[in-house]
């Protein structure tokens, strides 16, 4: 059985939903059209899994390896024997390029968060006043209007960081917009679909922000066309995993929990209807 050796990817990819993985597969295979730097064997396997909607552990490991190899292309992989780089290095490279600030000892989730916030910041510049207002409302923050300037973005970022679900929602906003912009289809949110209803509204500005980012931040290398959307998608998958809640009592769940620590309900089993 193939294993994912990168600890920053293993948990996320192993526990990810097929819908989320199919988006990741589309980013890697360019909507199933293939990429020059992707071997036809690997392409066929990943694409077949995406079409079938079933991602075995072997395919998940293959996707992790491919992502690391793409990352290697943008980080001078030639001297590493083509073996790819660790995922954290890829995320840090993207963060450095988009000038996202993160502490030196930041975890992978923190680096990803810094990237998402930077994309949001870029998108904010592209938004109309109405879109800005709606974005603030989405995160439960009052928008002071045009005069507030950069302070208003700072307020929004602070509010997002303070709320656990806010971080997940931000990841969803960005990943959904990136998927729609590049693949022409958004994410499916399953149980949280009602809470995520409004986020498609921001696909336009975030999509345009992404278009601007390719040229504004030295991301012209072909490998970044894969690594940037993949890092955004993995950031979303990680936050989704971290923000899981019990279907019975709505208490937050530990990442690998099989039972809810509050009510003891088995995770993954839908709550019974009230008698």
């Amino acid at each position: 059985m193939a294993l994912i050796y990168d600890s920053d990817l293993a948990d996320v990819l192993t526990s990810a939903d097929a819908e989320d993985l199919s988006i990741l597969a589309d980013h890697i295979t360019d909507k199933g059209e293939g990429r020059l730097s992707l071997s036809s064997d690997v392409f066929k396997k990943i694409h077949a899994a995406r079409v079938a909607g079933a991602f075995s552990l072997e395919i998940r490991a293959l996707m992790a390896e491919e992502l690391k190899r793409f990352g290697g292309n943008s980080l001078v992989n030639l001297f590493r024997g083509g073996a790819g780089v660790v995922y954290r290095e890829i995320a840090c490279d993207v963060a450095d390029h988009v000038k996202a600030k993160y502490p030196a000892k930041a975890t992978c989730a923190e680096v990803e968060m810094a990237i998402l916030l930077k994309v949001l910041e870029q998108a904010f510049e592209q938004m109309t006043e109405e879109e800005k207002k709606k974005l603030f409302e989405e995160f439960g923050v009052f928008y002071k209007g045009e005069g507030a300037g950069p302070a208003s973005v700072a307020t929004l970022i602070a509010a997002i960081k303070l709320s656990g679900f806010g971080v997940y929602k931000l990841a969803a906003v960005v990943a959904n917009a990136v998927a729609r912009a590049l693949l022409g289809r958004g994410l499916s949110f399953g149980a949280t679909a009602t809470m995520m209803r409004g986020i498609s509204f921001f696909s336009g500005p975030v999509g345009w922000a992404l278009t601007a980012i390719w040229t504004a931040f030295d991301l012209a290398s072909p490998a970044y066309r894969v690594t940037v959307p993949c890092v955004v998608q993995i950031a979303y998958m990680r936050q989704k995993r971290l923000s899981q809640r019990c279907a019975t009592c709505n208490a937050p769940l530990q990442a690998d929990a099989k039972f809810c620590a509050e009510c003891g309900a088995r995770v993954g089993i839908p709550a019974l209807p009230a008698p």
């Binding site: 020059l36 336009g204 030295d218 012209a220 290398s221 490998a223």
Partner: protein
């Protein structure tokens, strides 16, 4: 306070030395180049100040049996003063009592982190090149290429050389091509290197990083059709899906957004065609034609981005 000056062969890597005790504070002198300083000036300043010269040329143990207040006083006395002095020492004491002295020399006009105008690029490049282009010293270290020597070799007036080397924020120099070419020949570099600024070097570096992918695309293209003409470089970028830029799917583009996108694509197309036309002209055989087309595509992809 006495500085011991051991010979070069006696130098011990300071941070790893087990012999450091509280009685001996070790002075470490570093040729630290802060942004905007010129390497060559460091040495010149060092020559002007004999104490500094010793410190710069050798790492020595500095006996500093003073109290904390005396240490503080020494630190204060060596604070950089860009107004009056052209060189300074910054002194810091580590928790273990090790004294680090960083000798820094300032150019008369501190240079900005990255030169902005072509004159500034030429001045910075020329100064940096002359700092190391001389004959090696007895330790094999690079020495300065003296202006007088450059003047003799190139037959360019000293005043012209001085003007070219002077980093000015207000004045633009306009050297003729022959002058630049003679200087480049004396330094043993292509004349283009004298005109390369930070952006160009960075773009070149990224272009080289992408060469493997560009070559794969070029080979694929060669199999399918042909690599003839500068248009092949554009096709390489298309194959790698980095050109043209598309508007995000499912979102309407406003007129200014669409215009900006069209403009960017047009600029990328032209840059690629021009780069390929120049590079392909240098091809000697089919293989070098392919490699040069890939290089042109890669360079254009990065150049248009910066």
């Amino acid at each position: 306070m006495a500085i011991t000056s051991p010979g070069k062969s006696d130098l011990i890597p300071i941070m790893r030395s087990p012999a450091i005790t509280d009685h001996y504070l070790v002075m470490q002198c570093r040729h630290q180049q802060i942004p905007g300083t010129v390497g060559a000036m460091t040495k010149r300043m060092a020559v002007h100040e004999e104490g500094l010269l010793k410190e710069v040329l050798c790492d020595g143990a500095l006996e500093f049996p003073g109290s904390d207040s005396e240490k503080m006083e020494y630190q204060q006395s060596t604070r950089p003063d860009m107004e009056r002095r052209r060189s300074s020492k910054s002194v810091t004491f580590s928790r273990q009592g090790i004294c680090f002295v960083t000798s820094t020399a300032f150019a008369r006009t501190p240079l900005p982190a990255s030169p902005q105008t072509l004159s500034q690029v030429i001045a910075a490049n020329l100064t940096a090149a002359l700092a190391v282009a001389g004959a090696a010293d007895e330790y094999g270290q690079p020495r300065r290429f003296k202006s007088t020597q450059l003047q003799r070799e190139t037959k360019i007036a000293r005043s012209t050389l001085r003007t070219l080397k002077t980093y000015s924020t207000t004045r633009e120099v306009n050297p003729d091509l022959q002058t630049l070419n003679r200087i480049a020949q004396a330094l043993g570099i292509p004349v283009a290197f004298l005109l390369f600024g930070s952006n160009e070097w960075q773009a070149l570096l990224r272009a080289v990083d992408d060469m493997a992918l560009m070559l794969v695309a070029a080979e694929k293209l060669e199999e399918e059709a042909s690599l003839a003409g500068p248009q092949a470089a554009v096709h390489i970028l298309r194959k790698l899906k980095v050109y043209p830029f598309h508007a995000p799917s499912q979102t309407g583009a406003s007129e200014p957004q669409q215009q900006a996108l069209d403009q960017r694509n047009e600029s990328r197309r032209r840059t690629t065609l021009v780069a390929a036309a120049l590079a392909q002209a240098a091809a000697r055989d089919k293989k070098s034609h392919k490699r040069l087309t890939a290089l042109a595509a890669s360079l254009a992809n990065q150049t248009a981005a910066c």
